[in-house]
Amino acid sequence: MRILIENGTVIDPQQSLNDIRTVFIENNTIVQVLAPNELSNAPFSKEEADYVYNAQDQLICPGLVDIHVHFRDPGQEYKETIETGCKAATYGGFTDVCCMPNTLPINDQPEITKYMIEKARSVGMTRLHPVAAISPGSKGKGLTEMGLLLNAGACAFSDDGQPVSDPQLMRRAMEYARSFDALIISHCEDLRLAEGVMNEGSISTRMGLAGIPNAAESVMVMRDIALCELTGARLHIAHVSTAQSVEAIKFAKDKGLPVTAETAPHYFTLTDSAVLEYDTHAKMNPPLRTETDREAIRQALAEGVIDVIATDHAPHSGLEKMVPYDQAANGIIGLETSLALSLKLVHDRMLSLSQLIEKMSINPAKIMRMPKKIIASGYPADLTIFDLSMKHTISSKLFQSKSRNTPFDGWTCRGKVMQTIINGQLCL
């Protein structure tokens, strides 16, 4: 299979490239990337290509990577399956996703890890990299077989929404992970402080809802940074939502600790005022914070304190959201809205396009030790093609995801995924 992509602008931060290029793909590999004046060196002509994609006025970037999604498979397939999840990812422009272990059963065994990878492979779209649990059943009582899980294909370890409370277990988990140079992802939440349903502040008070203070997150960020310093293990802080967490992460990075961090589009797009109508689609964990926090997150992205944008794609069926706010499930889906919402940062001039691609492709791939995301000959043909400015209205009815729980339904955005190329295959 030979694919020729012409007339598009290639954005590749690792080569400081932002220019018109023709990309030649043969089978699963990029074989040549040529400027308009170099086309005499083309490895094959347009006529010899099996498919010619005209990327006129479109941007071509290294394949996007979302390192924080929930696919509910095995166990809660009524919310999402690996098939629908991978399709949603592909439509969102993602060539790779990392799937959290809170399935039923929890991904704490090599056999479950293998099942997830195999199932995604059979779908043949976005690649799935399972994150395995830190403790069996994410119960916080011991360590999983990290070495055997890594051999089975696990990319990192996290107990995600059932975070490790016992600091001794977290210490040992980080030490043990260091034996394999493995990454620990921490969902930073003190479960006692977080006994609420939305951000603690004037809005929660007015609405009569139990609040979750910023400290519920930042105390654990600070604990895990201290443990990172003690153990030397690689630590990644998931879905940062508060200004205090940003300060702590900046402190850790200034110290040279191996700490990285992500945030989700909703934390730099929305604030707790989105909850005002008791909208259960604005309920997630960590909760939407105040304007001060939102601004701190945007600044942290611009300054590089936050390395990654990840969606925390958390599908829930209508059953779990069409209930009183208190009782609603936490989480929103994000795969099919992520790029459009994140491009707002570029349109707002908070980030350059290169910086955005770094946070959605280059950095997450580096943190997960995936093959280098670069548009150059000899590298895997994993590309995302998008239109930077096309106006379109988000319609959850059109989602590939099995769930519809998004607060962004009906929003008009600029920017749209046009094509996702995974392993040399045009997937849209």
Binding site: L143, R172, E175, Y176
Partner: protein
């Protein structure tokens, strides 16, 4: 070296290179006694030795008992479960009571690091540390060095690799100090949870992988993995430990064709060592046990005055 001046054997740090050498040489001479048809000499006749074991032990305790009896000493055993310590007596009161009965040597094992040092400051008898907490096991280290010297003719310049739970191991600590003192280089390998902070300052190199530790070693010493460490999160399962750090004969041969295998016992077969390796011709494990008696005979003999005393008999 004319005389042996140590009053106690508490750890490897307080023994000099010359003293270690002298102890091993003495043990090599005394080893022959255990091969005689009548395994008894009168060297320690009239001496009283108390074996005070506050922690379970089979091989160390039996080894000391046999060593003392082969040299005609009178031995007495006290274990934690049968002593008045179960009635709430403090350690100091127990050993003072023992002291009042005038023993010459107290061989002591205790779960608290430093307990023999504490006792030695309050008693007239000589103390031999038969293992204290995670701190030291000097007689094990001495018998290990004797076994290595017997197998390879020297210790100086050898590469010794210790695999396993270094964190909890008094054998590892004593061997790192002992072997390094005698001119060997010691490498350790284990999951990072089992490598204690600052072990490099004791003289050990920390290997990144099992292969890195084993491929150039002259001696590979495996340590027992204790299942109860699982509950304190030091490792996930025996299956995983065996997969990444367990030695099988095939695996050893693929990494290193010349290394000898040692283990302080007891072995968890199928975890740190497979059966085919524990019983292979490169295994020195049974020789360690045999030499253990000789080393302990040598220590009892030297602490009681050595040649001076023997001549006066």
């Amino acid at each position: 070296m004319d005389h042996f001046h140590q009053k106690h054997i508490l750890d490897m740090t307080s023994l000099s290179r010359q003293e270690i050498d002298y102890i091993i040489k003495t043990a090599e001479t005394l080893k022959e006694i255990s091969e005689r048809p009548i395994k008894k000499v009168p060297m320690l006749r009239g001496k009283s030795i108390v074996h005070f074991f506050h922690e379970p032990s089979t091989r160390t305790r039996t080894s000391f008992e046999i060593a003392a009896k082969r040299m005609s000493a009178d031995t007495f055993s006290i274990s934690a479960s049968t002593s008045s310590m179960t009635k709430g007596e403090t350690l100091l009161d127990t050993v003072n009571t023992l002291q009042a009965m005038n023993p010459d040597i107290i061989v002591m094992r205790h779960s608290a690091s430093g307990a023999p040092h504490f006792v030695s400051r309050h008693l007239n008898a000589s103390i031999i540390n038969a293992g204290d907490g995670m701190h030291a096991h000097p007689t094990q280290s001495l018998l290990d060095m004797m076994t290595v010297r017997e197998a390879l003719g020297k210790i100086n310049g050898l590469k010794v690799s210790i695999i396993g739970d270094i964190f909890h191991s008094r054998v590892a600590r004593s061997n790192i100090i002992g072997f390094t003192k005698m001119g060997a280089t010691v490498t350790v390998a284990a999951p990072c949870t089992m490598i204690p902070h600052g072990i490099d300052k004791l003289g050990a190199r920390v290997a990144k992988t099992l292969d890195d530790a084993v491929s150039n070693a002259d001696i590979v010493m495996a340590l027992r993995i204790q299942k109860e460490r699982q509950s304190n999160f030091f490792f996930p399962t025996e299956r995983e430990y065996a997969y990444f750090y367990g030695l099988t004969y095939e695996r050893l041969k693929s990494m290193n064709n010349n290394a000898f295998i040692m283990h302080p016992g007891p072995i968890n077969r199928g975890v740190e060592l497979s059966s085919d390796i524990a019983d292979c011709s490169e295994s020195l494990i049974m020789k360690q046990v045999t030499n253990g008696v000789a080393i302990r005979m040598a220590l009892l003999y030297l602490l009681m005055g050595g040649t001076r005393n023997a001549h006066s008999n």
